[in-house]
Subunit: 346 residues, 2 copies
DNA sequence: GCGGCCGAATGATTCGTTTCAGGCCGCCAC
DNA sequence: GTGGCGGCCTGAAACGAATCATTCGGCCGC
């Protein structure tokens, strides 16, 4: 007895469509790609056959022939960070304009995962890779580029012109944040952020240091509290550590390396209403994510044009892939957004 | 004068590797896929050649041969909603266990974009599609399924067993939320959510209605305020409309269809401290995203096991694709999380 | 009536990988 | 000495769409 045929796995190919419409495969391909080159009656016949058979193009075959895909790879540090989803949105918008797609990879601040995505994207022969790189593995990116895949750095610059890049000046951002704290009367400032392998963190801290150095005020100190990641959880841990200190030993202002951290810090400080923000401690974050404005205490932050960064990154990638321009560096300026969490002590 | 050779677009294939290592292409493929079947010395030679030439597998060719890809498509309503990024994380985890990848598509509550992603995924011959469908275009999904792509519904059930699905009982969730509001003494309840094309919204409203009907209290009313989307912005607009009403005309409790909306409503109500939450109006959201706990007024919400939903969805997809089991429906139960935004009037 | 031309359609070939039926060789058992 | 076996390797045949040099047929102009 023959086994029951479970499921008719119908794989309809151009050949089948061609047969059904009594034309050659070449003509089917033309209908698909240059319908104006085919006689209207034929187009109609082929289209009907496609609909009837439920033909769906096989992208793998297309790509194999074309040599490259119509997708763009984007590797970000943390998808759960609204800043990066905004970047992704911007990238998607520009990609859609060019009829392309964005594949989103999440390195989760983890070198191995970052590497896995890079491998994947290279194997997929994506048109380009946009990456917010974790550490300084530029040689690797260079190798990828040398093998023919365009690479654009997101939120990261590199001194020589070896890559196109889109970034925001994080040193200026850090400086803006801390100058603001000093201007509103704070003196014992703490920077919370990490790991120090991440460039953004280092730059923002650098900016903070410069603001302190440049301050036209006395007795300004800067304490650095390193965290293991840039998440709400890490922020909460850091905040709890501060809450447990003697009141005299606490900073009177905190600059968190991003809003996620800042939200965690805020939660920890306010737990059981133990520490008043901004009365006792002022708090400023970075990125100005949507939720910052809706926090327990509406949070001051440094705004970056997230969607625009993504949009521009894809733009540069397309330009470079076209060989149209030389590599290009775009740098946006951050902007201070003042809310209640840094208002002066009443 | 010959034009300068701009860039040596080197496309290294298995054939080149084979030549370099003096073996056949079949052997190179074996080294790549079943190294244990190849003599150690040969493996070493081939591996060296791969490294030297910088060979990178061409996924398109692999896929073409295999007939299907090692990716899973996931279409969500809104990437900016942390609930969905959590679902995506869960899905990624399960996919990674199976050596597969998740492609994330964002329909943005837009039918066209949803359709575009479905087309794309089908052309890519993904192993399966997980979708949180926008409206009731089941026939379309059925067609996709009939053409051989496994489809799993996420956060959506369907009466007959025509699809595997993972969902949370939103009617129960809506009921939980409103019962809680009634239990804490609220009477004039407003439901904020929309568009009504989205099933989750309708079900949560349905649950709300049931809770009102079942209430063991007098004078309970339910007003429905429809929004255009489930975003912070839409919530803010709805909240502003309420703030502008005469105090006597305002509800004393609001149930928002998700936390994003709720955050927007909260922002609007508290603007200039005009309306006290929960004193004047209690507020409860849905999803229990991380930021809910850190809101101006820590927000009560209905918790769903987001990551688990994603994980399970991939799991069901893999099972169904293996033909291992019949289609399966998994339903999780939501959970009430009480915070300050619904505490009783002091 | 014929050469020339043009739009339309053809179909063999290509992309890079995996698979699979064989082939070769050395070794063991009889 | 021969048959059989297993380990290792080979190379041709797919997979499905796109390309492009050809061919076909009809029409115009002379």
């Amino acid at each position: 007895m023959a086994p029951i045929e479970e499921e008719e796995r119908m794989t309809v190919s151009v050949r089948d469509v061609a047969a059904a419409a009594s034309v050659s495969v070449g003509t089917v391909s033309n209908v698909l790609n240059r319908p104006d080159k085919v006689a209207p009656a034929t187009v109609a016949r082929v289209t009907a056959a496609i609909a009837e058979l439920g033909f769906v193009r096989n992208d793998a075959a297309r790509q194999l022939r074309a040599g490259h895909s119509r997708s763009i790879g984007l590797v970000v540090l943390d998808v759960r960070n609204p800043f990066f989803t905004d970047v992704a949105r911007g990238a998607e918008d520009r990609a859609a304009e060019a009829g392309m797609t964005v594949l989103l990879g999440n390195s989760d601040e983890n070198t191995d995962r970052e590497g896995a995505y890079l491998d994947l994207f290279e194997e997929q022969r994506v048109a380009g890779v946009l990456i917010s790189p974790l550490a300084d593995d530029l040689p690797r990116l260079q190798r990828i580029r040398d093998r023919g895949t365009t690479v654009v750095l997101v939120d990261r610059e590199v001194a020589d012109q070896s890559f196109s890049s889109v970034a925001v000046d994080d040193v200026v951002g850090g400086s803006l944040a801390v100058s603001h704290l000093i201007d509103t009367g704070r003196r014992r400032i703490a920077f919370i952020g990490g790991p120090m392998g991440i460039r953004q963190v280092v730059d923002r801290l650098d900016g903070a240091r410069r603001a302190v150095a440049a301050a036209d005020a006395e007795g300004v100190s800067l304490e650095v509290i390193e965290t293991e990641s840039l998440t709400v959880l890490a922020g909460r841990a850091a905040g709890e550590a501060i809450r447990e200190r003697a009141a005299s030993d606490r900073p009177d202002a905190i600059f968190a390396a991003n809003d996620l951290l800042a939200m965690g810090v805020l939660q920890a400080l306010m737990m059981q209403g133990s520490i008043d923000v901004p009365g006792e401690i002022a708090l400023i974050g970075y990125d100005d994510i949507d939720f910052a404005a809706a926090a327990v205490v509406p949070m001051s932050s440094i705004r970056q044009p997230a969607a625009l960064i993504g949009y521009t990154a894809v733009d540069l990638m397309l330009k470079e892939a076209d060989g149209e321009t030389a590599r290009e560096r775009v740098v946006f300026q951050p902007e201070l957004v003042v809310r209640e969490s840094t208002s002066s002590r009443s």
